[in-house]
C-alpha cells in the first residue's frame, strides 16, 4: 500500500511540477500571502475574491492556485497577528497572546522565523497524513450507499455548524438557511422551479460566488467600515537578519512544534473541528504541561509555535474528508469544493480514481507551495511588513471593485452583482444578530447533494426512515451525531450548574478577600486564553472578525466535552 501511495505521489509531483501548474501554484501562494497579510482580509474573503480569476484556467491549475491562496493567506495572517496584534483570521487569535508580547520585546523577527518553520513542520505532517489516509478512506467510502452518504453528510453538517464559532443553535440555523439557499433554482429530478419567484436568472440557482462574496465581502466591509482604528506600526520594522532564532530558542521550540502538529492532526480527524479549535486546544495543552504556565502571555516562544504548527497541520488534514469523501469540514473547504464543482468535477470518493491528476497534483503542490512560502516569507518580509500599513480606507473600495467585476465575470451577468448586494445586506443583518455566516456556505454546497441522496435512500428503502439506523455504517454516523449533540448538551448543563454554584458560593462568602478557589482546569485555562483574546481585540479594536470571548470559551469547552465523552 505504501508503495502505491509513493508511486502516486511521484505521479503527483510530475503533475505539480509542470511549468504552468507550478506557475499557478506560485501565483496562488504569492497573492494569498500578500492579501492575507493585509489587515482585515481572511482566507475566506481572499479565496472568494480570487475565485472568479480561476474560471479560465484548467481545473488542475485552478485548484492548485486556490489551495495556494488558502495556505498562503494562513501564513500571511500569522505575520499580521504577531506584528500588529490583529487576528485577521480566527486561528491566529491565540498566536497574538504570546506573539505580540514577543514583538514588544523586540523578538518579533524570531517569532516570525520560528512560525514559518513550525508551519512548515505542521503542514508537512498534514500532507503525509493525507497521502496515506485519503486512499484508505476512499476504499471505505466506495462501499457507501445513499443512506450512508446521507448520514455522513448530516454528521458533517452538524459538526461543522455546532463546533464552529458562536452559539451551536445559531450555527445549525445558519446551516439550515444554507440548505434552503441551495434549494433555489431548478429541481434536478423533476425540473420544478423552486423559489425563483418568476426570475429566470435564478433558474440555475444562487451563484456560489455571489453568495460567498456577499457574505464575506460586502457584509464584512459594512461591518468594518470606519471601525478599524489606526494601526500601531511601531513594531513592524523586521529585517531578514532578525528572523534567525538562537540555538536555545530553536531548541526550546522544537518539542512544542511537534506536540502542536500532533494535536492539529488529531483535530483534523474529528469532522468540523477546524484549525481554530486546533490552535486553542494546542495552546491550552502547551500551557498545561509547561513547567512555568504563569509565563504564558508574556512572550513565550512555545505559545507561538505550538498553535501555529497545529493550525497548519489541521488545515492540511481538513483536505482529507474534503477530497476523499466530498464532505467539507468548514466554509473554506466548502468554497474550494464549490470551485471544483464549478469546473465540472463531481466531488466524492470517485474523485481520486477519476481525476488522479487533481488529487495527487494537489498533494504534491502542497509541498511545493509550502517550500515556496518559506522561500517567499523569509526575504520578502520587509515588503509584507510595508503592506501592513495600507489603510483600510483604500483597501475596501478596491476590494469592492474586485467583488463586482468578479461576480460579473463569472457569467457576464449584471443580475448577479445585484444578487450579491442583496446577500450582502442579509449577511450584515445576520452578523448584527450574532449569527456567523460561515455554516451557510457549508449548507449551500452540500445541500443539493444531501437532498439527492436523501431522496434516493428513501426510494431504495421504500420510504422506510429506519434505514438510517438499520445499516451498520450509517448507524455509526447517526450515533456520532447523537453523541455530538448529547456532548454539547452535557457541557452546557455542566457549565450552567457550575455558574450557579459559583454564584451561590459568592453569595455565601461575602467580602472581596475570600474568593472561591478552584483548581485550574484545562477549560479554565482556555477561557483564560479566550479572555486574553478579547483583551487583545479590545486593544486593537479591529472589528473585522467578531468573536465574543464567550463563544470562544464555549467551543473550546465543547471540544473538551466531546473528547471526554468519546
Amino acid at each position: 500500500m505504501i508503495a502505491t501511495a509513493l508511486t502516486d505521489l511521484w505521479y503527483g509531483f510530475g503533475v505539480a511540477l509542470e511549468p504552468h501548474n507550478i506557475m499557478w501554484c506560485f501565483i496562488g501562494v504569492f497573492v494569498g500571502n500578500m492579501v492575507g497579510v493585509l489587515p482585515g482580509m481572511g482566507p475566506l474573503a481572499t479565496i472568494s475574491i480570487l475565485l472568479p480569476l480561476t474560471f479560465g484556467i484548467h481545473p488542475v491549475g485552478a485548484i492548485l492556485m486556490l489551495a495556494g491562496v488558502m495556505y498562503g493567506a494562513q501564513y500571511g495572517g500569522a505575520i499580521c497577528s504577531i506584528l500588529l496584534n490583529l487576528p485577521c483570521h480566527p486561528p491566529h487569535a491565540v498566536t497574538c497572546l504570546d506573539g505580540f508580547p514577543m514583538t514588544k520585546q523586540g523578538k518579533g523577527g524570531v517569532a516570525l522565523g520560528l512560525t514559518v518553520f513550525a508551519s512548515f513542520v505542521g503542514a508537512s505532517w498534514g500532507i503525509t497524513e493525507m497521502i496515506f489516509l485519503a486512499p484508505v478512506l476512499v476504499e471505505v467510502a466506495l462501499q457507501f450507499g445513499p443512506a450512508e452518504v446521507c448520514s455522513l453528510m448530516l454528521l458533517g453538517l452538524l459538526a461543522g455548524s455546532t463546533l464552529a464559532r458562536g452559539s451551536p443553535l445559531k450555527g445549525v440555523a445558519m446551516t439550515v438557511l444554507g440548505l434552503m439557499l441551495g434549494i433555489v433554482g431548478t429541481d434536478l429530478e423533476t425540473g420544478a422551479e423552486r423559489f425563483t419567484f418568476g426570475m429566470t436568472h435564478l433558474d440555475d440557482g444562487i451563484e456560489l460566488i455571489a453568495l460567498a462574496l456577499g457574505l464575506f465581502g460586502i457584509a464584512e466591509f459594512m461591518n468594518s467600515v470606519n471601525q478599524v482604528a489606526s494601526i500601531n506600526t511601531a513594531y513592524v520594522n523586521v529585517r531578514l537578519r532578525d528572523m534567525w532564532p538562537t540555538r536555545a530558542e530553536f531548541k526550546q521550540s522544537i518539542a512544542p512544534m511537534f506536540r502542536g502538529t500532533a494535536i492539529g492532526s488529531l483535530c483534523a480527524l474529528i469532522p468540523g473541528t477546524g484549525p481554530t479549535i486546533a490552535s486553542f486546544v494546542a495552546y491550552a495543552t502547551e500551557k498545561k504541561i509547561s513547567k512555568h504556565p504563569e509565563k504564558f502571555g508574556t512572550g513565550l516562544i512555545e505559545g507561538v509555535v505550538c498553535p501555529e504548527a497545529s493550525t497548519h497541520s489541521s488545515v492540511q488534514g481538513d483536505f482529507i474528508p474534503t477530497m476523499s469523501l466530498g464532505i467539507p469540514g468548514d466554509a473554506v473547504m466548502a468554497l474550494l469544493l464549490g470551485a471544483l464543482m464549478i469546473q465540472g468535477i463531481v466531488p466524492g470518493p470517485q474523485l481520486i480514481k477519476e481525476h488522479p491528476d487533481i488529487f495527487w497534483g494537489l498533494v504534491a503542490s502542497f509541498w511545493i507551495g509550502n517550500i515556496l512560502l518559506v522561500l517567499l516569507n523569509v526575504p520578502l518580509i520587509g515588503i509584507w511588513v510595508k503592506l501592513l500599513t495600507i489603510p483600510y480606507k483604500y483597501l475596501y473600495p478596491s476590494a469592492l471593485f474586485f467583488v463586482c467585476i468578479g461576480v460579473y465575470a463569472a457569467n457576464n451577468d449584471m443580475f448577479q452583482v445585484g444578487e450579491t448586494i442583496v446577500i450582502g445586506i442579509l449577511g450584515y443583518i445576520l452578523l448584527r444578530l450574532d449569527f456567523h455566516p460561515a455554516p451557510i456556505l457549508l449548507g449551500f454546497v452540500l445541500g443539493p447533494r444531501f437532498e439527492e441522496n436523501f431522496r434516493r435512500a428513501m426510494l431504495i428503502s421504500r420510504g422506510d426512515i429506519a434505514v438510517f439506523v438499520e445499516r451498520p455504517i450509517s448507524a455509526i454516523f447517526i450515533a456520532l451525531c447523537v453523541i455530538l449533540i448529547g456532548g454539547q448538551l452535557y457541557v452546557r448543563m455542566r457549565a450552567a450548574k457550575r455558574a450557579r454554584a459559583e454564584k451561590r458560593a459568592a453569595l455565601a462568602t461575602p467580602g472581596p478577600g475570600v474568593t472561591p478557589s478552584s483548581p485550574v482546569t484545562l477549560d479554565q485555562s482556555v477561557s483564560g486564553a479566550a479572555k486574553a483574546e478579547a483583551e487583545a481585540r479590545a486593544h486593537s479594536r479591529l472589528l473585522a472578525i467578531r468573536a465574543p470571548s464567550a463563544s470562544a470559551e464555549n467551543f473550546a469547552q465543547i471540544t473538551f466535552g466531546c473528547t471526554s465523552v468519546l
Binding site: 480569476l53 479560465g56 452559539s167 443553535l169 445559531k170 445549525v172 440555523a173 439550515v176 438557511l177 440548505l179 434552503m180 434549494i183 429541481d187 429530478e189 423533476t190 420544478a192 423552486r194 423559489f195 460586502i218 466591509f221 459594512m222 467600515v225 470606519n226 471601525q227 483600510y392 480606507k393 483604500y394 475596501y396 473600495p397 478596491s398 469592492l400 471593485f401 467583488v403 463586482c404 467585476i405 460579473y408 465575470a409 457576464n412 449584471m414 452583482v417 445585484g418 450579491t420 448586494i421 450582502g424 445586506i425 450584515y428 443583518i429 445576520l430 448584527r432 444578530l433 450574532d434 449569527f435 437532498e451 436523501f454 431522496r455 428513501m458 426510494l459 421504500r462 420510504g463 426512515i465
Partner: protein, 184 residues
C-alpha cells in the same frame, strides 16, 4: 356568607391572577424586545413559513417518492422550531446582556456608500462600459470612510480604474466593453 359575595370574591381572585399573568407577560415582553436573540429568532420564524408554506405548492410527494416540495417544507418547519428556541432563550438572559442590534456608532453613510458602489457598477456597467463602472463603484464606496475627501476618493478611483481595466480587460479579457454608450 351569601353566594353573591362569594362569586364576587372569586371574580376578584381571578382578576388578580389574570393581572399577575398579564404583568408577567408584559415584563417578559419588555425584556425580550431589547434582546438581540429575540430578533434573531424572529428573523428565522419569518424565513421558515416562506419555505414551509410555499413548499407544498411544488408537490410534497410521499416519503418514498419525494416531490420537489418535501425538502423545503421540512427545512422550513425545522427553521421555525429553531427560531422559537433561540427567541425563547433570550428571555433567560440577565438584564443588559446581548442587547442592541445596531452597533454603538451606526455608520449609515458608510453602509449606504458600500451598497451604492455595486449599484453604480450595475448602472454604469450596463450603460457605459467598464471605465465608468469601475470609477463610479470605487469613488462612491471610498466616500464611505469618514476621513475620505472628494479628492482622495477620486484619486483612488482613478488609480484602481487604470489598474483594473488593464488587468481585467487586457490581460484576463473579460467580455465587457471598455467605454461605450448604449443609450437608455
Amino acid at each position: 356568607m351569601r353566594p353573591a359575595t362569594k362569586t364576587a370574591e372569586l371574580n376578584k381572585q381571578w382578576e388578580e391572577i389574570l393581572r399577575a399573568v398579564r404583568d408577567r407577560i408584559l415584563a417578559l415582553g419588555k425584556v425580550l424586545v431589547r434582546k438581540r436573540d429575540f430578533y434573531a429568532g424572529g428573523l428565522l420564524i419569518l424565513f421558515g413559513p416562506v419555505m414551509a408554506l410555499k413548499g407544498p405548492s411544488y408537490r410534497l410527494g410521499t416519503l418514498m417518492h419525494m416531490g420537489p416540495g418535501f425538502m423545503p417544507t421540512a427545512l422550513g418547519i425545522i427553521l421555525v422550531c429553531l427560531g422559537v428556541i433561540i427567541a425563547g432563550s433570550a428571555a433567560g438572559l440577565p438584564e443588559g446582556e446581548g442587547e442592541g442590534i445596531l452597533p454603538e456608532h451606526p455608520e449609515w453613510w458608510g453602509w449606504g456608500c458600500i451598497l451604492a458602489g455595486p449599484l453604480c457598477f450595475i448602472l454604469f456597467g450596463s450603460y457605459g462600459g467598464m471605465i465608468p463602472a469601475v470609477f463610479s463603484c470605487v469613488f462612491v464606496s471610498a466616500l464611505g470612510d469618514r476621513t475620505a475627501t472628494l479628492k482622495s476618493a477620486a484619486i483612488l478611483a482613478a488609480v484602481v480604474t487604470v489598474f483594473g481595466v488593464g488587468l481585467f480587460s487586457y490581460i484576463l479579457q473579460i467580455p465587457m466593453p471598455i467605454l461605450e454608450w448604449r443609450g437608455l
